[in-house]
Amino acid sequence: MKARPRVLALVAAVVTVTALAVWSCFVVVDVTEYGLVLRFGRVVRVVREPGLYLKRPYPLESVVRLDRRLLIFSPVTAEFLSANKKNLVIHSLVTWRITDPERFLATTADRPTAERRISDLVLTKIGSVVGSHPSTALVSVEGHPSQFDEVMGRIVAEARGHAIAEYGIDLVDIRLRQLSLPEQNRANVFERMRAERGKIATQYRSEGEREFKKVVAEADREKTLILAEAYREAERTKAEGDVRAMRIYAEAFGKNPQLYKFRRTLQAYEKILGGNTTIFLPADAEVFRLLGDAGKSKKGKSP
């Protein structure tokens, strides 16, 4: 009765250990990782394809998994001197992945170390490439994308070969996340920006003033033209009227000038001779013809 539990415990222990050992023979390598099979610390197999694999049980062989996904890393912001002695503060962005897991494991082993290495490498290359270009290669109004791409391309090309050969790391891309000026230059930049804006504002306002004056002057000129044209037209019309009237008069009166003269003179008298006019009439005036006996028709007047 006493031996039975002991036997049972022994059997249970053996079964458990065996199960664990068998279990450790199976290795699942995920699609997101590489599997490296180590035998006493030495790499014996590199598994690059995901799937289920067999290996020797645990103490003999162990597995190290390395991320095979695209990894993102932002090195610290650093200040660089360009070829024309301008300081540029660059915050870069590195995307990388492990392409040679065996080499990676041998040289860097873990991610913090890898990032430190990448940081050193990338910052050095950025420093040397930026240092050999003027700042206008990166900051330019003309929009030199070729120049920008060229600079970035050189940085990537120079860092890339090194990273693969040394650490088994593929630097997929190095990008400029931010590019700014050192803190002590900001005040100057803002000062200049204010001055530029002031100039533009003044220019806008004076442009408005100029345009206003131009429009007003043009309007005034057009007004003058319109009125002058109207005056010309009016005078021409009036002249036409005068001419027509004159022609009518001449035509009509021409038929009997004598009568016209006579009538018109009489009409004129009616207008000329008013209440305070004194007139001396010869006795033989026609009015009085029946009084006297004259044959001449003579009129005289004095104002």
Partner: protein, 325 residues
């Protein structure tokens, strides 16, 4: 196999502490088998999962991508054989460029960028994207949302670096959005990220407090300019119609002057011609009549002196006499 048995022994021991129940003892094997079957069934049932209408599922069998499933109820082999990841593919995801999105959108500062003419501006953008390829999205990239945001930020920086600030503020806005969208997409494609950028939109451009006023002033100067020009135009628009009206009335006045004079002439001459007809019938009589009629009208109003011209030189005396003009 050992575990359930032990559990049953324990359970059985507790339940039947006075002594083995005859019922249990009789069916002991059946109990154990039933329990084992139940456990296996539960285990197998854990493989059932559902995919909602806006989701897709990716199944990994032993780490290898095995299937991509759409909406519905599905079955996979339970752990440790299959693993399933369900993600929303039709839902549009949003990420902020230069700021964290969940933050209060009112105080979005954005990322400080240098423009091509060395001005410092802060630009905030949001990027929308959908997952085009779930497997790539899940397994090829470490943190896809962060990657989208960071790549977009770098494209934004790169784009603005080649632009003068005035362009950034005006016509460049659209260019920037377009560039950020297409170039971010190009880069993400190069990374095989499975991400589809649907839109990039600029939330705002801000300036450091020390220069914001100056930029504001430029905007109001622009408005001033427009105002001034409009003022000039409205002056012209007011002046010219008036001038045209005036011109029209001048011309019309001339026209009526003309018409009036012609009409007068016609009237006068008509009268004259009528008169002439009568006159011609009896010229002498009519002439005398007209003369006398006129004199009748005129002479009563006048002071008159009648002088017999053949008998004396009186007029001089008379003029010096009682009448002075």
């Amino acid at each position: 196999m050992t575990l359930p048995t032990e559990a049953h022994e324990l359970e059985a021991g507790r339940l039947t502490s006075p002594g083995p129940s005859p019922l249990f003892a009789a069916h002991r094997r059946a109990w154990i088998l039933g329990f084992a079957a139940f456990a296996v069934a539960i285990y197998l049932l854990t493989g059932i999962f559902t995919v909602a209408a806006d989701e897709q599922a990716v199944i990994r069998r032993f780490g290898r991508v095995a299937a991509r499933l759409g909406p519905g109820i599905h079955y996979r082999l339970p752990w440790p054989v299959d693993r399933v990841d369900v993600i929303k593919t039709t839902a549009v995801m949003k990420t902020g460029v230069g700021f964290e999105l969940p933050e209060g959108e009112a105080r979005v500062a954005g990322v400080e960028i240098l423009t091509g003419d060395t001005n410092i501006v802060s630009v905030a953008m949001t990027l929308q994207y959908v997952i085009g390829n779930p497997a790539a999205f899940l397994f090829d990239i470490e943190t896809p949302p962060a990657l989208v945001s960071l790549v977009a930020e770098s494209v934004l920086t790169e784009t603005v670096l080649g632009m003068p600030v005035d362009e950034v503020l005006t016509t460049g806005r659209l260019t920037i959005q377009e560039q950020v969208k297409t170039r971010t997409q190009a880069i993400l494609d190069r990374y095989d990220s499975g991400i589809q950028v649907t839109s990039a939109s600029m939330m705002g451009i801000t300036f450091d407090a020390s220069v914001a006023q100056a930029f504001q002033d430029v905007a109001s100067a622009g408005a001033d300019r427009e105002n001034k020009i409009n003022q000039g135009r409205s002056y012209a628009n007011d002046l010219l119609p008036k001038a045209r009206g005036e011109a029209r009335s001048i011309v019309l006045a001339a026209q009526s002057y003309k018409d009036q004079h012609i009409a007068e002439a016609t009237g006068n001459t008509t009268r004259f011609l009528e008169l002439m007809t009568e006159f011609n019938k009896a010229p002498d009589v009519t002439r005398t009549r007209l003369y006398l009629e006129a004199m009748e009208k005129i002479l009563p109003k006048l002071r008159k002196y009648v002088i017999d011209s053949e008998h004396g030189q009186k007029p001089i005396n008379l003029r010096l006499g009682p009448t002075t003009p």
